[in-house]
């Protein structure tokens, strides 16, 4: 009791670890053994990880075919304003030396297409894409309205510049039999994109819902006619469209195009052999275009790089480790008064 009173009255500060700054603490010293152990552990971990990653990425197969040059004539045709709407098809044969096992994905790849431009990525109208109000085009400048004032659906620079080449992969069993490789265009988007972020206006008939609007400038078809085969894949929830709308991080990027439908010949993936891409070339741009066939590994197909990164880091760590051990051993001989400056 008296103690308590005294505490209240006198100005003696409380003797608690917190107030006296004497909280129990562990000190991290850069002592030799600790540092060396830490470096050793980090190095070992990285090396092991690196090797695992490199090995696993070996299992992934990728084939990339750049069709910019091959389809150059189509591009040239396009440049002519008269032929703007004309379809031009070019065919690229290639040989798959090894079979691609498992799920095979087809990507299109663009070189030098700046989807990450500051003005570009904001030129879209999310509320329009959500199907709430297709006339809401306020963020889409300058691709908001057509000349006659009707709103563009879907509006904005992103939608306007949508990749609309058609790529068809055929399997040339022999020179005569060309089997069109069955491809699926579903499930190439995030589930949330397809079912949450992109919604068609609620109307029984899509074309009615899109009435009073204009298709984007560069598009040949309106949004509700994007997929003639699957009526459920039209409008804003068209998979290709959704994929495109997810703007790529780098100027060189690939995007999901199709995935292999593992039926018939292709239940185990793409067998080795001759293939050809039949590309309906629509638009050209200053960069290059390629088509990629790839399988995925467990790590999402990051390629060799992560493995290398781990390996190199691990190697560096160990290098440092050895140099430090050397220095330490040298120093041990003349152990000493370090307080000297």
């Amino acid at each position: 009791m008296e103690m308590k009173l005294k505490d209240n009255l006198s100005r003696l500060p409380d003797n608690t670890a917190m107030k006296q700054q004497q909280l129990p603490a562990c000190h991290f010293h850069f002592s030799a053994t600790r540092i060396l152990t830490a470096f050793f552990a980090i190095g070992a971990l990285c090396l092991v990880m690196g090797i695992i990653l490199i090995l696993s990425s070996k299992s992934a197969k990728t084939i990339e075919i750049n069709y910019t040059k091959i389809c150059a004539n189509c591009a040239k045709l396009q440049e002519n304003a008269f032929n703007f709407d004309k379809e031009c098809t070019c065919s690229i044969p290639f040989y798959l030396p090894e079979k691609m096992q498992g799920n095979v994905y087809m990507y299109y790849k663009l070189y030098g297409f700046y989807q990450n431009l500051h003005r570009y990525i904001r030129s879209r109208s999310d509320s329009q894409l959500l199907g709430i109000d297709i006339k809401n085009v306020e963020d889409c400048a300058p691709f908001e309205k057509s000349h006659n004032g009707t709103p563009i659906v879907p509006c904005g620079a992103i939608a306007n510049s949508m990749f609309n080449d058609t790529i068809i992969l055929s399997y040339n069993l022999n020179s005569a039999i060309h089997i069109k490789v069955p491809m699926l265009r579903s499930e190439i988007t995030w589930w949330t994109d397809k079912y949450v972020k992109f919604q068609n206006p609620s109307s029984r008939n899509l074309s009615n819902a899109f009435a009073g609007s204009t298709k984007p400038l560069y598009w040949s078809k309106p949004a509700y006619e994007l997929d003639e085969e699957d009526p459920g894949n039209n409008g804003f929830i068209n998979d290709d469209f959704i994929v495109w709308m997810r703007t790529a991080a780098f100027p060189t990027f690939k995007k999901f195009y199709r995935r292999l439908n593992r039926i018939q010949h292709f239940t185990e993936g793409l067998p080795a052999g001759n293939y050809s891409f039949n590309i309906t070339y629509i638009t050209s741009f200053q960069g290059e275009k390629a088509v990629v066939l790839s399988t995925l590994t467990w790590d999402g197909g990051s390629g060799l790089f992560l493995g290398f990164a781990y390996t190199v880091t691990g190697a560096m760590t160990w290098l440092v480790l050895f140099s430090m051990i050397a220095a330490h051993l040298m120093l041990k001989k003349r152990k000493t008064f370090f307080l000297q400056q």
Binding site: F28, M49, H328
Partner: protein, 1489 residues
């Protein structure tokens, strides 16, 4: 404000009043007129409430310290916040977002952080304001009695309801609510005592007096009858001055002085009740005008930080420009081709490159704004507040004796404490206790050494150093002397009373208790119990006996020999020549009053005549009868008469005087008491407590009491002294001429009860008093004798000074009646004059204090505070330069300096005493030559060492002297004045820089501040000034950090200071521990901030290369904006508040670690840029690793940006982990919290709304990433790879080139509990392993910091082994060696390691340095040729050689050596001293390195 006189004085016709107002404003500008509020309005035009209304123009007593009202808070606070440039900047950036062409974020979102910061600051301000409001409210609602016109009585009112012109009645122990003019007091003399502790911290009682004219009122004061008008000054903040006059209805004027004014905040004591009229109320009171808020200083670190912030701005602009140019080029490249991804202008045309570049530039500035850390300022403020809190909470800084802990008054310069380079200290009260103890005295030329007293004091030293417990103190007391037994009991009683106060309850009581204990500490037993010198005691009692028998004879004093007469007078003077008030402790401050007939000190000529004539008796004062009839003698009266009758000037006087008065005699009363007095040394019935204005007064009174000459009662008009045989002597006190710093003396004029002569007793500084003595002729024997006494006394005074005692001279003058009358007339004139009163009183005092007869002198010891030498040694080891600036005289100062180890006996002392500007210049030149000569030949000795510390003349003061004894400089006030002149200050400073310590004596407050200013501005050094008194205030204010000692000499220093410590020794912990921590924490935090922001911005910048420099960001705007504020801020705050790079005990044992702060090791420009480089590297790694990992994937922009954000967060935390030295659970929690917060926020944010956050639309991104192994893989590798180099370099540096701090850390780690065990690393190969720590210190300082070693001298046995050996060797070769050179030194040093036993005698290692090196001889020759013997050659400690230059100046080069008396007259040697040669040590270390 200006209108106030108008309304009160002349409420005329409105039209006229307006004109008149302007006129009067000019006229009345300096005065205020106050009249009673109870009066009906003076003018007919004014409505009834006129008086009250007029008072309303003046400030009422409501206290309002709040800045804001509810309405004004928002605009006012915002306005204030926008004074900070950073806030304006951030708002500008946020507003830029509202421009569509350049916006980077959602405009509303961009405002969020700014608003958040503003809100936090506003909340803080609001809270502060609210607490101010609450305390205001409490104070405003205190109650007091105010006279009400309606009730015709005093009624209870709140303080805030008091107006100017109200009548307030205050009772004992009440606090005064406003500045009140004292009109009536229950005290019959019209006196009132107030305690001003709240105002200035002084606990003695101040006397206040009822306004003249009111004190004579017989009946009780009735406010209703008060019709006078008071004219006084406008409110001002001068506590020591108040002037005005009161104009009575009849037109009579009376002056008002500060003695009439009761100040707000003081407490009424010793007086039952007082009544007064309020003059100043509320904010116009002097107390509040004196109260300026906390100071706002900017710390050095903050200045440096601001500079680096500017660098950041520059970098930001460069980045933005680069990006803008890049974007321009990029646009140009694509311009012709119209790419698909181009977003043309709304018109259809594409953007021109220039416009695009400009847009890009602006957007970049927004995106990269993070580089300028918005949260930096807020974080720093938070950290500093926490630091201040922790400093306040430190138990080690709590002083039990005074129940006070350290106070931080400035909130934002805590880190400056860690960078101090120069300490400027006051002496008295700062280094010393300001507890004055009578030590010894000399009377009539005979010295009484008081050996027993010295022993007693020595004993206290020991007791003091122990725990403050009652029991040991009491027992030690009981061993002493005859009077000790009851004193021991008294000590018990005192502590008991303090304890009981602590138990009683409320906080206020506790404060009172602390004040009380502080007050009684003022007269601690140490000061009270003086052991008398037996010889002197014998003489005093002889006087006593002699006088007791002779008291009824004609000339009692004539029976004494001149010496005994002097002894008697000496003690009478000690007893009464002061303003000590006597109280007794059992009746708190309640005097037992015995009324006497005499009203007061002589006030008028009539008064004089009345008092000095018998007629007064016949005129019949009412209350004197009983006293007058007491036993009295006629003799004094007759002698008085005879002396006065010769006075022809006072006509008509003699006639009345011829009737001897039996009634004048106060001694008659005393005589009556004498019979009942028990004349032996038995304890008095009641203990007397002496309350003095200054401690040395009390010391002298206690000293006199020890000689049985006790002051028993002091009234305003009489002093009673009790002597064993003589009984109670009552001296009629005619005048008291108080002490002032210009006269440096005080006097009392009394009438001696035995001789009835009018005596003047003067007590003052010897320097002034010795000049005022009666010039004695050398012709007669008496004069010669007197002369001899004077010279002897002077001699002893010097001796006292050398011992470090404070000296006071006591003198006496006997006035003849006519002399007195003559003086009195002029004095009364002076007193009654309205203007120029002070000046006239001063003149009058000077007229009185001449032709004095010297009685003797006293030496009062002002003891050093506990731990001062140790603290100084530690601080010095820490690389701090300590300058002492004191007003004391040179000898005293030098001796105190020796006592506190500021000066060392084996260092050279340069003394600068110059009489003129030219002399000073010449002296400075000579000293500089001398100093340079020392260095030119000491430089080669340094080169053999492993570390060459090249001497450059301008390098910092603590590096150059690698060998030889260090220098000290002593300079007196006059020389200092010359040295501070523009043309000499550089030289002076250069010289002072070479010196280990500098001592400025006799310096004025202004000089103190000038010195500080000089060092601060010229050396660009961090300065700290510490002092306790009003004379240190200017110095404290000028210095970077001002520290006040919250001791005994009032609160002015504390009020002006940034930090207030209870004692000097707390400075050690404050600087070395807390200063270091604060600096280190804040430096690291600031660096970390810059690193963090640069690294984060780097990520964004690298991305620009991949997005056509279009200022787009891959990191979601939310993360971008809140990253700094939310996710990464807490851990660094925790680290900034709690991290301890080196534990406190290591810091204290290795004070040299403090130097890291001084040298700005942790936060120097290089560190900043290294940090930036590291940030760049880390950002490269953290950008390109994910880039390459996600290259050629189908990832989208923000899905790729989120891992980068996570990586950045991990990297930051890991980086912080590397930088954090101590990990407490708080750190862990903070880090865990940060990570969790990030992921939780990200998950919630990414799940909350599908399309709400354009353009990123991060819906489900985090969730998707959590299922992506690449995300984890990159998050793992990137931070590791990024931090690898840092870790590597840190480890490498830690093991190869560790800094001192790292070694200190290792030290703590090696033996975390007991630091005193030998450390292997430090002892290895060392011949002596007895005190590792000191050696460690020496090692550390050997290479570069010699004074670290030098300060080890106090412990001779702990010297490095080489020192004694080397010294011994050297003394052996000393005689034959005329030239000492490098080879010898090396030889000596080489021998050092072989020394196996430490030599005890330090003296031996001081050779007579009568030799000089050729280099120095040539330079110093002109100097040495004019050396001669100094004054103090007889003292062992000094062998000083003074130089009388042709310019009439004296230079003393004092070679302080313990055996130097043998070499008196030898030339001062400039050669380095090998006894503390550290090269040996260094070589040793070389061997083992």
């Amino acid at each position: 404000m200006e209108r106030e006189p108008e309304a009160a004085e002349e409420p005329g016709v409105p039209g006229r009043a307006r004109r008149g107002r302007r006129r009067r404003r000019r006229r009345e500008g300096r005065t205020r007129t106050v009249r009673s509020n109870l009066l009906p309005p003076p003018g007919p035009e004014e409505p009834v409430a006129g008086a009250a209304k007029s008072a309303r123009h003046l400030a009422d007593n409501r206290l309002k310290t709040t800045k804001y009202t509810l309405l004004s808070f928002l605009p006012k606070n915002l306005f204030e916040q926008f004074h900070r440039l950073a806030n304006v900047y951030f708002v500008f950036i946020a507003l830029l977002n509202f421009v569509p062409a350049v916006n980077a974020f959602q405009p509303g979102l961009a405002l969020a952080p700014v608003l958040f910061i503003l809100a936090v600051t506003a909340f803080k301000d609001l809270w502060e304001d609210y607490s101010r409001h609450r305390s205001d409210h409490d104070i405003n609602h205190l109650g007091c009695l105010v006279f009400s016109r309606e009730e015709k009585n005093y009624v209870n009112r709140y303080w805030k309801e008091i107006h100017v012109g109200d009548f307030v009645r205050l009772r004992c122990n009440e606090i005064i609510p406003a500045d009140i003019l004292l009109l009536s007091s229950s005290d019959p003399d019209g006196l009132c005592h107030i305690e001003t502790a709240n105002l200035d911290g002084e606990t003695n009682l101040k006397r206040r007096q009822v306004v003249r004219g009111f004190s004579e009122l017989v009946s009780e004061f009735n406010p209703l009858t008060f019709t006078s008008v008071i004219e006084c000054e406008k409110p001002n903040n001068d506590l020591t001055r108040f002037r005005g006059c009161i104009i009575h209805e009849n037109g009579k004027k009376a002056g008002l002085y500060k003695e009439n004014l009761l100040l707000r905040g003081c407490t009424i004591r010793n007086t039952e009740a007082v009544v007064g009229i309020v003059i100043y109320a509320g904010h116009e009171t002097k107390a509040l005008l004196n109260n300026n808020g906390p100071r706002y200083k900017r710390s050095q670190l903050e200045r440096q930080m601001n500079c680096d912030v500017l660098w950041c701005v520059l970098i930001l602009i460069c980045m933005s420009l680069f990006s803008a140019v890049g974007h321009g080029l990029w646009v140009q490249q694509y311009q012709e081709k119209k790419p698909l991804f181009d977003v043309p202008e709304s018109g259809g045309g594409s953007l021109s490159p220039v416009t695009a570049a400009i847009y890009s530039f602006l957007t970049m500035i927004i995106v990269l704004q993070v580089l300028i850390p918005i949260s930096l300022y807020v974080s720093i403020e938070i950290v500093k507040v926490c630091q201040v809190y922790f400093i306040n909470q430190d138990m080690e800084l709590y002083d039990e004796e005074t129940d006070s802990q350290l106070q931080c008054r400035a909130l934002n310069i805590t880190e400056d404490l860690g960078q101090i380079q120069y300490i400027f200290s006051d002496k008295t009260g700062t280094l010393t206790e300001n507890k004055m103890v009578f030590r010894r005295c000399t009377v009539s030329g005979i010295e009484y050494s008081h050996d027993a007293n010295a022993r007693r004091l020595a004993m206290y030293q020991e007791v003091d150093s122990e725990e403050e417990e009652v029991a040991p103190k009491g027992s030690s007391l009981s061993q002493r002397g005859s009077i000790s037994s009851h004193q021991g009991v008294r000590v018990m009683y005192r502590s008991q009373s303090v304890k009981s106060h602590r138990r009683t309850g409320s906080r206020a009581e506790a404060k009172r208790a602390s004040i009380l204990s502080r007050h009684t500490a003022f007269s601690s037993p140490m000061e009270k119990d003086i052991t008398p010198d037996p010889k002197l005691l014998e003489k005093v009692s002889e006087c006593d006996r002699c006088l007791a028998t002779a008291r009824h004879q004609e000339h009692p004093l004539a029976h004494l020999s001149p010496e005994l007469s002097d002894v008697f007078d000496f003690f009478i003077a000690l007893t009464i020549c002061n303003t000590v008030v006597v109280t007794s402790p059992d009746q708190p401050r309640q005097k037992v009053r015995v009324r006497l007939e005499v009203k007061s000190p002589v006030k008028t000529i009539e008064d004089f005549l009345r008092r000095f004539t018998p007629s007064r008796l016949t005129s019949g004062c009412s209350n004197i009868g009983s006293l007058a009839t007491s036993k009295s003698t006629h003799k004094p009266g007759s002698s008085f008469l005879s002396s006065l009758s010769s006075d022809g000037t006072l006509l008509g006087l003699e006639e009345r005087l011829s009737h001897a008065s039996p009634a004048i005699t106060n001694n008659g009363y005393g005589g009556g008491r004498a019979d009942s007095w028990v004349p032996d040394g038995a304890p008095q019935e009641r203990e007397l407590r002496y309350e003095a204005e200054s401690p040395d007064e009390a010391a002298l009174v206690y000293a006199a009491r020890a000689y049985n000459c006790a002051l028993v009662d002091r009234l305003h008009d009489q002093v009673s002294v009790e002597l064993p045989h003589l009984g109670r002597l009552t001296f009629e006190l005619l005048h008291t001429l108080g002490f002032d710093s210009i006269r440096k003396r005080m006097s009392v004029v009394i009438r001696h009860p035995l001789t009835d002569e009018i005596n003047v007793y003067t007590k003052g500084a010897d320097s002034v008093l010795m000049d005022l003595l009666l010039p004695c002729s050398t012709d007669d024997a008496r004069g010669r004798h007197q002369k001899k006494i004077q010279s002897k006394t002077q001699h002893y005074l010097n001796l006292y000074a050398v011992e470090g005692l404070r000296t006071l001279c006591i003198a006496k003058r006997v006035l003849s009646k006519e002399e007195y009358a003559c003086w009195l007339q002029s004095h009364l004139e002076a007193e009654s004059s309205l203007d120029n009163r002070e000046e006239l009183l001063f003149q009058s005092a000077i007229r009185l204090e001449t032709n004095l007869h010297l009685l003797g002198a006293t030496g009062i010891e002002d003891r050093l505070q506990d731990g001062v030498p140790e603290t100084i040694a530690k601080l010095r080891q820490a690389g701090l330069q300590i300058w002492v600036l004191t007003g004391d005289k040179q000898e005293t100062a030098v001796n105190i300096a020796y006592a506190c180890k500021l000066l060392d006996h084996d260092e050279e002392v340069i003394t600068l005493n110059a009489e003129s500007q030219e002399a000073c210049a010449a002296l400075l030149d000579q000293c500089l030559h001398y100093v340079q000569a020392r260095y030119t030949h000491s430089t080669p000795e340094k080169t053999p060492g492993t570390v060459s510390v090249g001497f450059t003349p301008l390098c910092p003061p603590y590096t150059p002297t690698a060998s030889g004894p260090s220098l000290s400089l002593v300079i007196d006030g006059k020389s200092l004045a010359y040295a501070l002149e523009k043309n000499l200050e550089d030289k002076f400073l250069f010289l002072a820089k070479q010196c280990r310590s500098v001592l400025c004596c006799r310096s004025t407050p202004l000089q103190k501040s000038m010195v500080v200013k000089l060092v601060r501005s010229k050396l660009k050094a961090m300065t700290l000034a510490i002092g306790d008194g009003a004379n240190d205030v200017s110095m404290i204010q000028v210095a970077d950090v001002g520290v006040g000692i919250s001791g005994q000499e009032g609160m002015q220093a504390v009020m002006a200071s940034d930090f207030a410590v209870p004692k000097f020794r707390y400075l050690e912990r404050l600087l070395i521990v807390h200063g270091h921590w604060c600096y280190s924490r804040l430096a690291n935090m600031v660096l970390y901030f810059f690193y963090k922001n640069t690294m984060f911005v780097g990520l964004l910048f690298w991305f620009q290369f991949y997005c056509g420099f279009s200022a787009s960001a891959m990191i979601d705007q939310w993360y971008l904006i809140f990253f700094n504020l939310l996710f990464s801020s807490l851990p660094q705050l925790v680290t900034g508040v709690l991290d301890k790079d080196v534990p406190a005990d290591v810091l204290l044992t290795e004070p040299q670690l403090y130097k890291s702060g001084q040298n700005m090791e942790e936060y120097r420009p290089r560190a900043f840029w290294i940090n930036m480089a590291d940030a760049t590297f880390q950002s490269l790694v953290c950008f390109f690793l994910p880039y390459l990992a996600y290259y050629d994937s189908d990832t989208d922009l923000f899905t790729w940006g989120t891992p980068i954000t996570a990586i950045a967060l991990f990297t930051f935390l890991l980086h912080l982990g590397i930088e954090t030295k101590t990990w407490t659970w708080l750190n862990w929690i903070a880090c865990g919290f940060s990570i969790l917060l990030f992921f939780i926020v990200a998950l919630i944010y990414n799940a909350s709304c599908a399309t709400c956050y354009p353009p990123s639309n991060p819906y489900w991104t985090m969730q998707a990433l959590m299922g992506d192994p690449v995300f984890y893989l990159t998050c793992l590798i990137a931070p590791v790879a990024a931090l690898l180099p840092r870790l590597f370099f840190k480890a490498l540096q830690g093991s190869l080139f560790p800094t001192q701090l790292q070694l200190g850390r290792q030290l703590a780690k090696r033996s975390p509990k007991k630091l005193n065990t030998p450390k292997e690393i430090f002892t290895q190969g060392h011949p002596l392993g007895d005190s590792q720590h000191l050696e460690l210190g020496n090692m550390g300082t050997c290479g570069s910091l010699p004074q670290g070693c030098a300060s080890q001298v106090p412990q001779p046995t702990q010297q490095p082994a080489c020192s004694p050996e080397a010294g011994k060797e050297q003394s052996a070769v000393d005689t034959r060696m005329s030239l000492r050179d490098v080879s010898l030194l090396e030889e000596l040093s080489d021998q050092a390691p072989e020394a196996s036993t430490p030599q005890k005698s330090i003296q031996e290692r001081h050779p007579g340095d009568s030799t000089m090196k050729p280099t120095s001889t040539s330079r110093a020759a002109p100097l040495s040729s004019i050396f001669n013997l100094p004054n103090f050659s007889s003292f062992n400690w000094i062998s000083s050689l003074s130089l009388v230059s042709g310019l009439g100046s004296v230079l003393q080069f004092s070679r302080t050596s313990l055996q130097s008396d043998k070499q008196e007259g030898d030339f001062l040697s400039g050669a380095p001293q090998p006894e503390r040669n550290l090269c040996g040590l260094r070589e040793q270390t070389v061997d083992y390195f």
